[in-house]
Amino acid sequence: MKIRRMSNSYLLWTMLVLGGTLFIGGCAKEKASRGRTGVEVGRSDIMDAALKTYVAPGDMDEYYLFYSGGHSGQIYVAGVPSMRHISTIPVFTPYPGTGYGFDDESKAMLGGFKWGDSHHPALSETNGDYDGRWLFINDNAQGRIARIDLKDFKTKQILKVPNISANHGSSFITPNTEYITMSTRMSVPIPLGSYADVDEYAEKYKGIVAGIKIDPEDGNMSLGWEVLVPPFNYDLGDAGKNVSDGWFFWTCYNSEREFIEGAKLEVTASQRDKDFILAVNWREAEKAVKAGKGKMIDGAPVLMPKDIPGAIYFMPLAKSPHGVDVAPPSGKYIVGSGKLSPTATVFNWEKALAAIKAKDYEDVVDDIPVLTYTSIMEAEVPVGLGPLHTQYDGKGFAYTSLFVESAIAKWRVSEPWDVVDKIPVAYNVGHLVTAEGKTVDPDGNYMVSLNKLSKGRHLSVGPSIPESAQLIDISGEKMKLLYDAFTEPEPHYAVMIKADKINPIEVYKKEDSHNPNAIWSDDEVRVERKGKKVEVWMIAVRSFFAPDVVRVNEGDEVVVHITNIEQTRDELHGFAINDYDLNIVIDPGETKSVTFKADKPGVWPFYCTNFCSALHQEMQGYLLVKPKK
């Protein structure tokens, strides 16, 4: 086992990290609400905060906030500034509340998985600004990416991409929704399923970054290209805009490229003072794949770095970096946060392009040139301890989350590159999001701090504690805390979009229905048997199902196509069959199909689960399963 000598800076950082943790842990009780200056921490001016966040009954919020649901696999929708949770969009996990994952279509989409780890939502863009069409989100666990249509807030596609392992550097989108990123955070031998011991990590394990192509008409995603990269851990990403348009950026840690059994990755991956940002030109990658340069691995066209000379570079960045965030509106500055370095490093992409032109390299790693740090770096901003992510306000300032320090630093994205304000948050902020803060036109009024710990900020619910999301007013010179909201596990990133950019439908219009199994009246109700398969075309309307008796034989395969023939907003109907472990919910005008095997003989009631009317309780019927002789 290799033991490295700890560098001085590593020792210092260990102390600081430990110190921060100890401070939070040890002094929380006495000092949680008192900061250095004696000012109350995590408190706000009640009158000011109340006026700014109170949305009166019947009034609407200004913004949609889409939080990722982390290992719940879902997306949560809230309104800003009230921070009220409005709805949950099931994405990677079945959700009986909307019947997601029970009907044939969504079940097929989930591909047999019971969960996903949704991390980074991305809104579709036109000319670098949100257009309110689609929402994308990655699955950090299963190498998947999903698309939600914002016309009906439903998951429409889940794409599983070969060779990607732990898709964390995703989903980051180009300014005209051409491509969206995926990447491997935990290198493995490829194709997935290949075997090699961790002893062979450096040689046999591979990193992959990928560009997922998005159909501009319907948003359909397909794999565009993959690039095989060294077995580092590709962490977070972003897409360039304007000056940096055409480039994807990913931070990576573990450029030590090793996984030593028992030596703890947290130690071994923290040895080098600098890791990297990987920059890939997606237009060139697209061309290279079109030119047939990709090697097919598990059905995916995989490019080697040498296939795309001039289109792939490393930028050195301190140390074990996490977020990389392109600064609007020009896209000239690219900010990398060194998780174990107290700085946000600002790169100047114009300088980087000059360095590329001049072949100003300080190293070459696996055929990937490393641009000379001092040639491309514009500023190292001393933001504070544990910087993770950066957002913008459109007024010349950046906001960087400080995990270790439990604070957000506001700093000037220009000379003298100084920190102008800092606000403590409760506690340990991961991502943060400002209103439309990564578009070319940030709104600069609200910011939400997505905190990992919330202890003592809400009624105690035992040891399993919700996450906290704090709304902060960034309209003035000083940041002001406005509101604490709590969510189920576990928002990572979120996006905030002006409410009027999204125009959802209210019902599925009968005339727009193209489902061949849709029926719209009593007359069309029917049951057909073909051998051992029984197909039922059913309607649901206040307050009955037709047919309300379905007779099958034990062992039959049963398919129920059920149309909610309502055209009235909010008149949803559920369809559950007791003891058959299924519940679907059909929206007004929607048709869903559910297939199951009638393997339990007996009499099984089915009923409407989504309360619909005064006679909702009567909305029931019977599945009669005749036993085998």
């Binding site: 206040r542 309502e566 055209q567 009235t568 009567e618």
Partner: protein, 221 residues
């Protein structure tokens, strides 16, 4: 007695002057919107329908708010009290109303062409009968819907008549029923006929045709 009859027949024989005839033509034009705009509007409001449910009765069809879905919604709600579904096919009025309106255009133009008070009075009273009958048939339809309730319906309600004109509370619904644009134009039609009659009230009865009397009048001016 004879004097009175003479006065009446003299009145009926009064020629219509040009102004009257123009006003009658305008009146006839006022019928046209009745083909395009609803004649009657019923609104249903309750707490859970803050935007209200709207039903519009045209001369030849039914329409409703929310792209036609409000009628569907009204029917869904009515099925709980056993009311028959309100469907266009049941309204026999839709078959003869447009034709009747068309006829009234001709009847009124006839008065303008022939130019006698009698023809104008014909048009006026025929239309009043027509209006009264239309209202009665509409009222009877409302009565029928409210009184032929399925006795096996989930919710038993005393038979009722939805309001023909004005407001009524029906269950959880506050129901308003009022004439709509088309009817206001038809009302205008009636008023204009009265105006036309008024304008020619002082015309002299002549044995000549009305053109002659007009010429005469123009000369005197």
């Amino acid at each position: 007695m004879k004097k009175m009859f003479d006065a009446i027949s003299n009145f009926f024989n009064l020629p219509l002057n040009l102004q009257s005839r123009i006003v009658i033509v305008i009146a006839a034009i006022f019928i046209i919107p009745a083909f395009f705009f609803p004649l009657w509007n019923m609104e249903f409001w309750s707490t859970q329908y803050p935007e209200g449910l709207d039903m519009y009765i045209y001369s030849y069809r039914l329409d409703s708010g929310d792209d036609g879905n409000d009628l569907n919604e009204i029917n869904i709600l009515n099925h709980y009290i056993g009311m028959a579904e309100i469907v266009e096919e049941d309204f026999t009025e839709f078959k003869w109303l447009p034709l009747a309106l068309l006829i009234f255009i001709f009847i009124s133009l006839r008065a303008a062409v022939f130019g006698t008070m009698g023809k104008l009075v014909d048009a006026f009273f025929l239309f009043l009968y027509f209006g009264a009958y239309s209202l009665w048939t509409f009222g009877y339809r409302l009565y029928s819907y409210g009184h032929n309730l399925d006795p096996r319906a989930a919710v038993n309600l005393e038979p009722f008549t939805p309001p023909l004109f004005g407001f009524k509370q029906v269950g959880q619904f506050r129901v308003w029923s009022y004439p709509d644009t088309g009817t206001y134009f038809l009302f205008g039609f009636v008023i204009l006929l009265l105006v036309a009659a008024w304008l020619s009230r002082n015309e002299q009865k002549t044995s000549d045709d009305s053109h002659a009397s007009l010429k005469q009048k123009n000369k005197t001016e």
